[in-house]
Each structure stands twice: as structure tokens, then as C-alpha cells.
Symmetry: C2
Subunit: 125 residues, 2 copies
């Protein structure tokens, strides 16, 4: 799985990494049960600091996406059905952005089409 970090982005490095790992899981590049690289290894590969990778992994753990076993490693969790707390979190993250789309002139159908397009784009390949 290829990860690209843009140091000059306005998006913090740990968040770029978090998002790209999430998308990697979503599109099946990595699967539940797989172990993520050690924080030292991944940091060296990406040319970033160990603690930055560590922060990203703990973000993923807080989101319920991976499980960190102390002194062992980080493993991708499987999910049959979304939990209520995760659902609420996603609801609150999506709301401002959907409102922004509406204000800027998008109809409900245009928003739904965009979302469907994104889902398809993530799934393909």
C-alpha cells in the first residue's frame, strides 16, 4: 500500500497518514487481521517522526479502526455493523460539510450523487 505525505499541506501529517490508512482499508488494500508496520518502520519509510506515526495509530484506535496491543503491534479490526458512538461522530463530522454544499447551491440529489460517486471511487480497484 502506497502512502504519500505532503509536508507542505495544510492538513497535519498525522491526519494525512490516518486518512490514507483508512482509505487503504476501505478500498481493500489492507484487510482486517493485517498488522500495520511498526511505528519506527513506517516513520523511516515515510521520512517522518516516530511520534507522528504513533499519534496517527492512536487516532485510529480512538476511532475503533485498529487495536493496539502493547509491546506487540497494531492490528486492523473487522466490523460487522457500525456502533452508535461511531455513527454519531460521523454524523457530526458530515453535517457542516453537507450544509456548506447546500449553501453553495447543491441540491439534495447533487449531494447524494456526490456521496455515491465517492463511495464508488473508494471501492473501485
Amino acid at each position: 500500500m502506497i502512502i504519500r505525505i505532503e509536508p507542505e499541506s495544510e492538513v497535519p501529517i498525522y491526519m494525512q497518514l490516518t486518512n490514507q490508512i483508512i482509505e487503504g482499508i476501505a478500498k481493500g488494500a489492507i484487510h482486517p487481521g493485517d498488522a500495520l508496520p511498526s511505528v519506527r518502520t513506517l516513520a523511516a519509510d515515510l521520512g517522518i517522526n516516530m511520534h507522528t506515526v504513533n499519534k496517527s495509530y492512536h487516532e485510529l484506535e480512538k476511532k475503533g479502526i485498529i487495536e493496539i496491543v502493547p509491546k506487540s503491534g497494531a492490528v486492523i479490526k473487522g466490523h460487522s455493523h457500525i456502533e452508535q458512538s461511531s455513527y454519531n461522530r460521523i454524523y457530526n463530522m458530515l453535517k457542516p460539510q453537507i450544509a456548506e454544499g447546500m449553501v453553495l447551491g447543491m441540491t439534495k440529489d447533487e449531494i447524494l450523487n456526490l456521496v455515491e460517486e465517492i463511495v464508488n471511487e473508494i471501492k473501485k480497484t
Copy 2:
């Protein structure tokens, strides 16, 4: 229009304000052509700093939602159809969150239903 700022939130104050103004426009509490309060007035009303309100207004301007007339005021713009640059920005903001929903076990239909629910919730009074 009622705005509530939570100083202890992990979401920056200027962003809370930006989002609530956007949602206010989306649900019709304020309309295109309306002028926003002066930065000093709103800051006093909310008990926050003038520069924080100013930053929020310039965020709204960057998003293409309001127009700031120097020495005059901020006016809400109308939108017939979304511009490509705004569309791309919303696309990039939505993508990581939709991927997160997928990883946490949401199906395409569950995601589309959630988005439709949010649109309806914003539209209703």
C-alpha cells in the same frame, strides 16, 4: 438566529462560528442579501474576541459564502449553481469521512440514508 459557542470544545471557536453561520443560511434562518452583524457587535454578543469573528468571516468569504465590503459589512451571497472549485473542495472534505464510515461497517445505502437524513434535518425549520 441563535449561535452557541462552546469554549471547551476541541473545535476551534472560529470554526464553530463559521459552521453555525453556514447552517443558519442552509436552514433559512438568514438569507442571501442579509448583512451579518459587525465583527465587534457579534464578538460582544458571543463573548469572544473581535479578531476571532473576523477570522470566521474571512473563512466564509474564502468559501464563497459571503462578500465582505471593506468599511461596510458582510453580506450573504446567493448561489444558483455550485462552482467547480467549491465542488472539489467539498469532495475532498467528504472523502475521508465516507471512507471512515465504510471501514466502520456502513454500507453504501446506510451512508446515503445518513446523508439524506442530515439534509432533511438541516432543511426542516
